[in-house]
Subunit: 685 residues, 2 copies
């Protein structure tokens, strides 16, 4: 029983449930089926009946009668066949009864279309279904679809058939995704509308889609991540590309998402960190999702970000280079040897650097494309190729042959080939596509395709650590000295400090620590904002003056750190209600808030990864000895960050713990201040 | 004669030339006309003949004979009608002769298609044509097109008719723009291919397009801005929207543009500053250009950036809010009063904040859209409206009526209405469009439309100052103390300093200035990188130690500035070879290079505008007294920046002048270092 409960709480575990009853039921019943084709119950009935050659379809309507030529029944109990899947399309007030009836009738899966139940009632509903050994999708969801099973219980969306498995928390966005996918020649293998996740959460659906062979890519729109660690684990283990459309990147977006599904929207930097760890490609809009899906389904992963742009026309090269750079791709300078080889096959007026501009070379001889591409592929200097501009417009038979040659050469070299063509319907473009290249009319999706492929290739999912490991530490107290103690014991060196309550104690402390010292009043939370911190006190008279100036109450006298010799970072851990403990490193001091130069990762983080995080900061050159500055001890900063992150996974009572600043010098890293915030309620996970 | 020459040098002047002979010639001749329809000379002949009911068309071919049913002539001299416009489509070696022949035959305008002439020869060609009182477009250009004149001398591009005037320096990009415009229902009134600008530059073409009534919007792709001030002046004075597709934002893009047309590509931050000053909307890709053109031709300018997003579905609101925020639009919180009014017309489950989510409200009653939009428009809290998601999909007659009501209400309020609809071909969407709303299938172009409208509305073109004003200053010398003197005399206070050559002089200087002092070795250019600067020397012993440590040679002893009490900015002027003197302000000190927090403007800049520049920096909150810090003297920093900018326009010999750092404290701004670089050759302008 305990194992079973654990499995339910951690659907990422090995014993996760089969969702066959949801996606491949032998029989289905629609409760709330209607004769009115404009009503949801009418649409659902029609959708269900489309699969009646595959399974028994029972329609339930309080008034009975015929619906679309099929008999309907007044209750689930009256159905001739026990329904394996029941779809509840009833007013919220009847939902609980319908679920009870469904379980009584032997249902193994229930789809709750109905909206409007309270949060507590929904939770109880989910627990009831789980306890009965069944699964519940929704409520407040828009149904399910399975292409191969001919199961269409989300008939308001006209899903073109294909290989994308979609899990979404918005009906209208699902509509848009279906529409945009069709325009790009893509389609769907499966769809599940998440709804309010009273039982089934995204994680468990991802696991199911991962096992589903007809699904080659999992697309997600999620506002409420619930058990975020389980979500991340499921995505990391999926073994197929996962693309996440995630809203809430702006304040207004968060506001909207929060109100939309009562979701606790998670800060997007946290979601980004999760995506990096789990190998998820993250996008901002439906169009970006479809573009990424097309690239990941039909493109090859590049070995790196080195892109060469080539084409017969200079302006296109300029634009492509700019857009590619904006999307994080690199256009390396080609080696002199390769440049010489290119010059040998190109006209004198051509540009033989990256971007390569044939300057009319292909107009004279279309084979120029083939020669240039072969030289580039053979050079080993290229991870991806982007042909831009006029190819496809020459309109000759030779162009078609060249197209096939380009695509085959790229395939043999394992290098992705993306073509931006003004003539995507041309013979040559069709030949490119059928030979494995990606072809686009516009430069933006062409570059986005390459960026998505590069992102996916780089994000080898690492194991997602558990949110809780090892023995739980006993709960620390809040307050400055308790925070310092906690941090020190975790292994982060803190500047020497003594608590003082009077001027006399302050003098004694300063004498013991040695001048210069700093004085901190502990009364206010943001010490430095309230004039509660005095730095660089050089003698007793200075200390007296400082003591009179700071707010009354307990103070700390501290050895003055050599601020001028280092860079101030901020290192902290924060328990995200969905994804659990997160590590944050960033530039500290006065510049922290204006530049928001931070990096975030799922805790715990080992020292090597923490070092990568530090080096990913925009301010990293200042630590690495830019412009004659000393090389600072990044390893010490990374050790401190790693230590805090390991502390966090053993301290479930911790909401926030921050060392700010952590002074990084050539000789190490020293915490100059620490702040702990306890969790105010039992958080999950 | 002098006036005439000045007009030629400054095409922005009142006497600029008429280009009627280029765009509306009474007769045209094609030199190099060909029978071969695959050759350029064949295409051109066909293009020219399309207009033969409007003007005499003379075809010139060395071998004579009939071309497309018209006689051809062996030379321009043999033509029966004197050609007002001559198109030269001949090998480069024959171009000079052809131009001479054209002028001799009385041509008032020449289009040079031919490529491959040297830079000096091209310049001479341009001068010759100008002196003869004619105009030359190109060479290395792709011709001209004028819709109303039925002049098609760029027949390789199939320009759909419309209201965009296009001036472009890339043939393939022009092709792409024509294609994308047609897909958006847009077209072209005029086209001029810039080529190598031996005579006609973009500025003069802009002036001509500005006077051309059939052109309602001027679109530009320019790599080489030539006389950039004239360009800016022409754009600012155009009196119609100007959209610039400008490449070279990335290192690779600059590389490409430079090689493409031998263009001296200008740093994109400079181009951005020019666009702000001249009221130009800048875009990165052909698609962005067409989207901006559609918005500017068919949309209304908003009064500000306050956007309200509304729709019947929450997910779309989340995505729209994120994309809008990314494009610099603001989604304000609505006032409690407006929220209450919205609540009165929406279901209980709706979101009455921005983004407004009807939560099915419109499904119950489509008039919900009308009620909500009216409330928003009446509130005065909205500068622009974005309807997102399902509108257009209800498919009822009432929906069409509501569409018309929405568009009319928006028009009456002068508020732009943009609709993102999954059904842009629906009756309702068509009604919206014909009533003045902008409708898009995808959210990205919908938001880009609003952003372009907002950008255009904000950028009231200011007068573009001349690159040279007042009496020229006599040339200063390079070197630290000469630079300091120049800066001081311009009105920027500099920290007290004394030049010293020996340790004794250094001690004397320090005694006079008073400790603490700083010591700078003047040998190396980047003083602080080479260990050539010692700060905070508190006594004579420290000075001795410092003096022994710095590189030998001349030094400066300076009063130590209160670094801890202020923020270090960098303020400088730079003479851009195209756009002339530019003012730059930015964050200085060690963070300058990692965060590149800079703002740029065309010099000269008055103090008020300089203050806006400083306040536009990301680090501005640190100057404005964020988090309990003192409010610093931004006005003093702005005065210093303005002073440098005025110096620059009187010092044509100046390449760069930089005060770095400029220490801004609560009491003023103080230059701590200065560096002057003289121009190495006569720059233009």
């Amino acid at each position: 029983m305990l194992v079973c409960m654990l499995q339910q709480l951690h659907p990422g575990g090995p014993g996760s449930r089969s969702l066959d009853s949801l996606f491949a039921p032998r029989s289905v019943a629609i409760v709330g089926a209607s004769r009115d084709p404009g009503k949801w119950g009418g649409l659902l009935a029609r959708g269900a009946l489309k699969g009646r050659h595959r399974r028994a379809v029972g329609l339930v309507n309080r008034n009975g009668g015929e619906i679309l030529g099929s008999p309907s029944y007044r209750s689930l109990g009256e159905l001739p066949d026990a329904p394996e899947l029941v779809v509840a399309c009833v007013p919220a007030t009847f939902l609980e009864q319908t679920v009870d009836d469904a379980l009584a009738a032997g249902a193994r899966a229930i789809v709750g279309i109905s909206a409007g139940l309270g949060e507590a009632e929904e939770r109880a509903l989910g627990e009831g279904v789980r306890e009965a050994g069944a699964v519940l999708l929704g409520p407040n969801c828009l149904g399910v679809f399975d292409r191969d099973e001919e199961l269409d219980l989300a008939p308001w969306v006209d899903f073109p058939p294909g290989e994308i498995g979609l899990i979404a928390q918005s009906g209208n966005l699902s509509l848009e995704l279906a529409l945009l996918a069709e325009r790009q020649g893509l389609g769907f293998s499966r769809f599940a509308s998440l709804g309010n996740q009273a039982d089934l959460e995204a994680a468990e659906l991802i696991e199911s889609f991962a096992r589903h062979d007809a699904t080659r890519l999992i697309a997600l729109y999620v506002e409420d991540f619930r058990d975020g660690r389980a979500f991340a684990r499921a995505a990391a283990a999926a073994g197929k590309p996962v693309v996440l459309l995630s809203g809430g990147g702006s304040e207004a977006g968060m506001r909207a998402a929060r109100s939309h599904t009562r979701a606790l929207v998670t800060d997007l930097t946290v979601v980004d960190a999760v995506c990096r760890a789990a190998g998820i490609v993250r996008v901002l809009t439906p169009r970006e999702l479809i573009d990424a899906a097309k690239a990941l389904l039909h493109g090859r992963p590049p070995r790196g970000r080195r892109l060469v742009v080539l084409g017969d026309g200079g302006g296109h090269g300029v634009v492509a280079a700019d857009v590619a750079t904006r999307h994080g791709l690199k256009l390396p300078l080609l080696t002199p040897r390769l440049v010489a080889e290119l010059a040998a096959v190109l006209p004198e007026t051509a540009t033989t650097q990256n971007p390569v501009d044939f300057a009319g070379g292909a107009e004279q001889d279309i084979r120029t494309f083939e020669r240039v591409v072969r030289l580039l592929l053979d050079s080993g200097e290229v991870d991806a190729l982007l042909v831009t501009g006029y190819f496809g417009g020459y309109g000759t038979a030779a162009e078609r042959e060249v197209a096939i040659a380009l695509a085959s050469a790229a395939e043999r070299s394992g290098v992705p080939l993306v073509v931006h063509s003004l003539h995507p319907e041309s013979e040559a473009a069709r030949a490119l596509i059928s030979s494995g290249a990606l072809v686009y009319l516009e430069i933006e999706p062409a570059v986005r395709a390459l960026a998505a492929l590069a992102e996916r290739a780089e994000r080898e999912p690492r194991g997602i650590p558990a949110a809780m490991t090892g023995d739980a530490l006993s709960q620390a107290e809040e307050g400055y000295f308790a925070s310092r103690r906690l941090v020190s014991e975790a292994g982060v060196p803190m500047v020497d400090a003594q608590a003082v309550a009077t001027a006399e104690e302050a003098h004694a402390a300063a004498d013991e620590l040695g001048y210069p010292v700093a004085l901190k009043a502990l009364a206010s939370e943001h010490k430095s904002d309230a004039g509660g911190v005095v730095l660089g006190i050089v003698d007793a008279a200075g200390l007296d003056a400082a003591y009179r100036g700071v707010p009354a109450g307990a103070c700390s006298v501290e050895r003055m750190a050599p601020l001028g010799e280092g860079i101030e970072l901020i290192v902290g851990v924060r328990r995200d209600p969905r994804f659990g403990p997160m590590l944050l490193v960033g530039l500290g001091g006065v510049y922290a808030e204006v530049f928001r130069d931070v990096a975030v990762a799922l805790a715990p983080v080992e020292a090597a990864e923490a070092e990568q995080l530090v080096r990913s900061l925009r301010c990293a050159p200042l630590l690495e000895g830019a412009r004659g500055k000393p090389v600072l001890d990044i390893a010490a900063a990374a050790r401190a960050a790693s230590a805090l992150s390991h502390l966090a996974v053993r301290a479930p009572w911790l909401a926030e713990l921050e060392v700010n600043p952590l002074l990084v010098t050539a000789d190490g890293a020293l915490g100059l201040d620490a702040r702990l915030v306890l969790g105010t309620r039992e958080e999950r996970p």
